[in-house]
């Protein structure tokens, strides 16, 4: 699928924005550029300040410091109703006394649009979110998924420059959430609108967003594409927050030809490819994602002639959890450390399965490892 046209000029520029509630610093001198047409996700654990940041963009909170520039104009002090930004609320906040049609038309009436144009736009929105036939219903006569669509249509109806989505899918069940994720992406691509979504669900962020900003304690700790976030996390905290990871603490023993040798107490000596920027500290963690750890009954053939070093760890399978698409194993090493490995179930019959108690070799290449400073 073609990428949406994302321009290089930032549409929204957040500059040194800070917000405190009493003694609690919810957002701490945060700066971020968001480009027009981008699907951006703010990801973080609860209480990290992501919702506060979103509410400052919508105008429900005023920053203590900093500027929020939208198309070059500082909107930090502008009231919500005067911003060309709309928000979709987590609990949808549909007006219970108004029908679906009047909910969607609400913002258009306030904008002083002509009656005929409102009717056209509402019909267009209803078609966009596939709610035909439900226009006269009240919100309490709709299912959760339908309410979510009404909320989306209502926030899109004014054609905002930026659409803010606060945990838009949190109230939906898993199947509906997945299909709605696809629809949201498709919609965003079609409208070419800038979407900023707040979520605590990393899978959701990774599926939908072009770029993800990870927040922790009011700060933006990394802004990256989903792939870079997962494969090159900027810190140990991010590596552990996004996805599963095995971590071994150790010291850099040698460094040559772009390869580090790290001696760890838990997994012996490990060969790791140097990342850019290179680590400067001696004390590091070697990190490896479970799906990059392979298991085999015997040690793989020696890497003579192979360009990359292979790390081999011998151990015993302590448990194997069959999850459908993958099986996740835990392997206990002689040192007592546990390595998690997940292997795709590529065959229907269990020829490749390992059983608890079986001796195996867990191995991974130097390129698949990450070195993270502690």
């Amino acid at each position: 699928m073609p990428e949406p046209a994302v321009s290089d000029i930032p549409l929204l520029r957040i500059e040194g924005v800070a917000k405190s509630f009493g003694n609690f610093r919810a957002v701490d001198k945060l700066s971020l550029d968001i480009r027009a047409g981008e699907f951006f996700a703010l990801l973080g654990p609860s209480g990290c300040g992501k919702t506060t940041l979103l509410r400052m963009l919508a105008g429900f909170e005023t920053p203590d410091e900093g500027r929020i520039l939208l198309g070059g104009n500082d909107i930090a002090q502008v009231l919500p109703h005067a911003r060309p930004v709309n928000m979709m609320f987590q609990n949808y906040a549909l007006f219970p006394h108004l029908s679906v049609r009047d909910n969607i038309a609400f913002g258009l009436k306030r904008a002083g649009m002509a009656r005929k144009d409102i009717a056209t736009r509402v019909a267009e929105m209803v078609a966009l979110v596939k709610l035909e036939g439900l226009e006269k219903r009240k919100p309490d006569q709709l299912s959760g998924g339908q309410r979510q669509r009404v909320a989306l249509a209502r926030s899109l109806a004014r054609r905002p420059q930026v659409l803010l989505l606060d945990e838009p899918l949190a109230a939906l069940d898993k199947k509906l959430r997945e299909s709605t994720q696809g629809e949201l992406m498709e919609l965003q691509r079609r409208l070419g609108m800038t979407f900023i979504i707040v979520t605590h669900d990393q899978e959701e962020a990774m599926t939908m967003a072009g770029r993800i900003g990870v927040m922790d304690a009011g700060r933006l700790v990394q802004v990256a594409t989903p792939r870079n976030l997962y494969e090159a996390p900027a810190s140990r905290w991010i590596a552990e927050f996004v996805g599963d990871i095995n971590l071994f603490n150790g010291q850099v023993a040698a460094r040559e030809n772009g390869r580090l040798t790290v001696s760890t107490s838990e997994a012996g000596t490990l060969a790791v490819s140097e990342l850019w920027p290179p680590v400067t500290k001696q004390v590091v963690s070697v990190a490896i994602r479970p799906e990059k750890v392979k298991l085999s009954r015997r040690a793989p053939a020696s890497d003579a002639g192979a360009p990359q070093a292979i790390n081999r760890l011998e151990g015993v399978v302590i448990d194997a959890n069959y999850l459908g698409g993958v099986t996740s194993y835990r392997v206990k090493l002689e040192t007592g450390a546990v390595v998690r490995a997940s292997m795709a179930n590529t065959a229907r019959l269990d020829v490749d399965a390992y059983l608890a108690g079986q001796r195996v070799v867990a191995w991974f290449t130097a390129d698949d490892c990450l070195v993270l400073e502690q």
Binding site: A58, H81, F95, D140
Partner: protein
């Protein structure tokens, strides 16, 4: 939402019957005796509408009833206006200095003995040299009933999802418009219920009214009270039955209004 149904045992039936009889038997007797043809209150002389007829020809009583109804209507309206504003201030306003004090003082009429409220209002009106009559009773009843309106409206407001107002602002309403277009329609049932509560409270008040009213402007309860001191006339039974009927209608309407109100726009959080 299945509610467990308790079976009515013989014991439960008996205690229920006794309890209801204790509460409502006096009223039932009063209503029955209001249709009594006899001049003596305690002697049954057959069914008749004579005393209702008597009442509708009793000028003084009718004037008192009219006075009571108009005091109740005006004071309930004033109390609803002020009480709703206070509720909005408490539930939606920024945290202002002295908020706790304001809220405490607002609710003090709920617990203040009526004799004290009445006496202090009387002293105030005397000090101001105000002529006592319709307006003094109305003002006194407004101060008494305002807090009840505030309680009803405030509880409704705090149950209302705050993000509804934010959504209205997000969609182009300034804060005042957001209140008028979204919040107000959703709290109207509570406001109506509050008005009716204030109306009935004003209608059956004797103590405060007797302190603050002047000569020639007695409310119905005061009038009834002074008549009864000279002996109970069957006409009083007829008047009381009419008042009971009026209040019953108001209470039924008010409870429907508040039921309607609580079914709409509750915050999404599970209760």
């Amino acid at each position: 939402m299945a509610r467990t149904v308790t079976r009515l045992t013989r014991f439960n039936m008996t205690s229920l019957a006794l309890g209801l009889a204790f509460l409502y038997l006096p009223i039932v007797i009063l209503v029955i005796y209001s249709f009594n043809a006899s001049r003596l209150v305690t002697v049954w002389g057959g069914w008749s509408l004579r005393w209702y007829h008597e009442f509708f020809n009793d000028r003084a009583m009718l004037e008192a009833a009219w006075m009571s109804l108009s005091v109740a209507a005006v004071s309930a309206t004033l109390a609803t206006l002020l009480g709703t504003l206070a509720a909005v201030g408490l539930a939606r306003g920024e945290r202002f200095r002295g908020r706790a004090l304001f809220s405490g003082m607002l609710y003090s009429p709920l617990v203040m003995p009526e004799v004290i409220s009445g006496l202090s209002l009387l002293l105030l009106f005397v000090a101001l040299n105000a002529e006592r009559g319709f307006w003094t009773v109305t003002i006194a009843h407004t101060t008494l009933t305002m807090c009840f309106v505030t309680v009803v409206v405030q509880s409704r407001l705090s149950a209302l999802d705050r993000s509804l107002e934010e959504a209205a602002m997000d969609l182009g309403c300034d804060p005042v418009r957001a209140f008028l277009m979204v919040t107000l329609p959703l709290i109207v049932p509570a406001i109506v219920a509050g008005w009716m509560l204030a109306f009935t409270l004003s209608l059956d008040d004797v103590v405060i009214a007797s302190f603050t009213t002047g000569p020639g402007s007695a409310t119905l309860p005061i009038r009834i009270y002074s008549e009864v001191r000279l002996g109970v006339k069957p006409e009083i039974n007829a008047i009381c039955t009419l008042v009971i009927a009026l209040i019953a209608v108001i209470i039924v309407v008010a409870s429907f209004a508040s039921k309607l109100s609580s079914s709409q726009g509750e915050s999404a959080a599970p209760l």
